[in-house]
Symmetry: C2
């Protein structure tokens, strides 16, 4: 993409309303725009990052055996009356009357609807296990939305739901998602630590939050340093092997890790002094086993191998892709802007043509853009007439992992400068060497 044909509305000033780094940087980098309190548009650069995050989530959900569906945003209140949550949910639920005066709502989550889908079609244990997920907009009418897309009212959520014959099956389903979440966050370039969590209004007796560490995190977390070096399963991990899944989960839940609400000072004292890591964290995923909390009142039952009816055992599993984008920035930025992990960077490579109109510069910029593009790299070419300092600042702000800088002197000599955004290291190389470096 050529910047002259792109829509990248950079803000020069720090927006006053932004209290945290990710909110400030997403606004400044032209990734998002607030439309109403807690409601955002995703502009082209932000949309690309969000798509990359969703693609990773989707691939790992599918790998773990979950099936993608797409449930609507608007739900009938009657479903929520069946589970008893319609009255419980309070003002965070956006309640709507349609033109026929039927009570509807904008889904804040989908346990009821997916249970309704399940009970309409599934009759036999032979159709289990089943895990259905979707990636869909949700609305929670927070009284004080803030921190940009970190705590917005309309937000994207991947929510998945598992159905099993009994606790043992549900536990195996829980473990599969647990492992898929480890892989998902790692692939997105984030170190997420699973921590025992309170089950809150979803209910249930087993729950973990996946927390990434960031100095600017919303809450205090306490964990064993062992987590920082613990290996995450590779793409060849066998999700159909319940025992292997259980082992990985055991490994990832044995050392101490807890959010503030679940923190236990006595257990904490047992962690080796040098391994105690008290930090700040951001929740990016949350998984729950809640058994028959919804299946019992809503009558989601199957015939078991014993010929009897069994109420299915369920779990639900959420990742907020829009929040994850902000969390990735909180975990990786500096005073000049965002530093994207490669896997979720909006472009792989930023090319700065320092002097558009100069024949040698234009030719070299085009060559690098075309060759890197043909090799499968998604490039952003700054061909604008802004001054040099402004171009450098923009490229640092939007945080692409690698920059290629092409100026008149270098172009004459067939040389470019290559800059690593994270380390800031700059090196002058021949065009060939630079292209080889990128494609290595």
């Amino acid at each position: 993409m050529r910047l002259s044909q792109y829509f990248l509305p950079i803000l020069k000033e720090n927006p006053k309303e932004a209290e945290i780094a990710s909110h400030r940087l997403m606004l400044r980098a032209g990734m998002i725009r607030q439309q109403s309190a807690g409601i955002y548009s995703w502009l082209p650069l932000g949309k690309k990052v969000l798509d990359k995050v969703c693609a990773i989530i989707r691939e790992e959900q599918n790998r773990a055996g979950a099936l993608e569906i797409w449930m609507p945003t608007i739900q009938s209140a009657d479903l929520w009356r069946e589970s008893g949550r319609y009255d419980d949910y309070g003002k965070e639920m956006l309640r709507i009357a349609d033109r026929q005066e039927r009570d509807m709502l904008y889904g804040p989550t989908n346990e009821e609807m997916v249970t309704d889908i399940f009970r309409s079609y599934v009759r036999s244990y032979r159709d289990l296990p089943l895990n259905l997920y979707h990636i869909q907009w949700k609305f929670r009418d927070e009284i004080r939305p803030r921190f940009g897309v970190m705590r917005s009212r309309e937000f994207l959520m991947k929510d998945g739901y598992s159905f099993d014959l009994d606790y043992e099956g549900a536990r195996a389903a829980y473990n599969r998602v647990f492992v898929s979440y480890l892989r998902t966050f790692t692939r997105a370039g984030l170190k997420a630590i699973p921590m025992r969590a309170d089950t809150g209004p979803i209910g249930g007796d087993l729950s973990h939050e996946f927390i990434i560490l960031a100095d600017t995190g919303e809450s205090a977390v306490f964990c064993d340093r062992q987590y920082l070096d613990m290996p995450v399963p590779g793409a060849d991990v066998d999700f159909t092997d319940d025992a292997a899944m259980a082992d990985i989960v055991a490994q990832w839940t044995t050392p101490y890790a807890a959010t503030e609400e679940m923190h236990d000072e006595a257990e904490w004292e047992n962690v080796k002094a040098g391994d105690r890591l008290a930090a700040r964290g951001i929740e990016v995923g949350h998984i729950f086993h809640f058994g028959d909390k919804y299946s019992a009142p809503m009558g989601a039952r199957v015939t078991g191998p014993d010929g009897k009816e069994h109420t299915v055992s369920m779990g639900s599993y959420g990742i907020g892709p829009s929040r994850l984008v902000a969390a990735a920035i909180e975990a990786s930025h500096d005073e000049n802007g965002i530093i994207w992990p490669k896997a979720i960077a909006p472009f792989d490579l930023g090319i700065i043509n320092m002097k558009p109109g100069d024949e040698a510069c234009d030719k070299l910029a085009k060559r690098v853009y075309t060759q890197a593009g043909n090799a499968g790299f998604d490039c952003l070419l700054d061909d604008s007439s802004e001054r040099a300092g402004s171009k450098f600042a923009t490229m640092d702000l939007i945080g692409l992992p690698t920059q290629i800088i092409i100026g008149p002197r270098g172009a004459a000599a067939g040389e470019v400068e290559i800059k690593d955004r994270k380390s800031g290291a700059r090196e002058t190389l021949s065009v060939e060497a630079a292209l080889n470096r990128i494609m290595a």
Copy 2:
């Protein structure tokens, strides 16, 4: 995907509520499920088709130079008061009060919001042309939703918006979208004919509907048969060449074509008698040029090359991907079920193992599944224990373009049956020949 691990809730009976073929077949094939009046969940098979349609739309939008964003579903009523449409829109607009008693609405379309984005950032003609699109859920509170996802209340829409300095630029933008729509529908396996259209409540002075012909279409259409053989531009068409775009549009708008509302008997009489095609059609796309209808009241202005302020000239462009899925079925089905165009089929290949448990059948089924999969074909393997007739009926119902049938007798001889869903032709071939045929 193995059917035993999939969620494909086939209905044996015709659902009573379904009045048209696509609605009936989508329910029977387990593609969608109604959650409330006019509000549907997309089940795994339906979601796959919808994804393929959206991917084609996206590729062709990007090719034509449009940029993808993602605007929220919930909008502030204040924006719609600026354009004057808040009061005009009537009961089809889903109006919502949030917990602060602010007037909000579920967007039925996004002219106001995208104009608001534009005016916040764009100041100069140098940043034009600009075309921003998104694929997002919309809600129109139809008094009598029906025909499944063909006329639902919550539906997916690709809506794009162009901004130009003047009419000439806007007309060029309109032409680019016109050509990209021709390519989009053709790639989806549909023959869409652009017809002059009424501009309706969006307003404006230039508009075309893209109509596909189907016996079960919602409205009468009249066109010259020439359209049926008119060539659609290839992927190498140059969207930056305004003159070439104008030529293609001229070619595609010269022969007579009109929907019932715009039909002109006098002009119709001028079409050669043998070329008059009076048929039924389904609208799958609609494009509008409306000039300053929104930019004037909302103050979307840029500085022109003359140093003066100009109100930008706008157009909007819509395709309904959810409706397009239904329309594709209306245009292509038989008494046994759906017949998907290859480009939007949920799977490329259906493999029927007639006797799971039989060693030779299992081995051969696995071989075909693996080899076709490795060659990049997305396969659905029916490994269920249903009886033969039911397996054949299901495979025909879901309409995959090609079926491979593996039975015990053939398996012993290293032979399979290959069936073309559209023609119904069946042929017995060696496994090698069948695989070669598929991959040809």
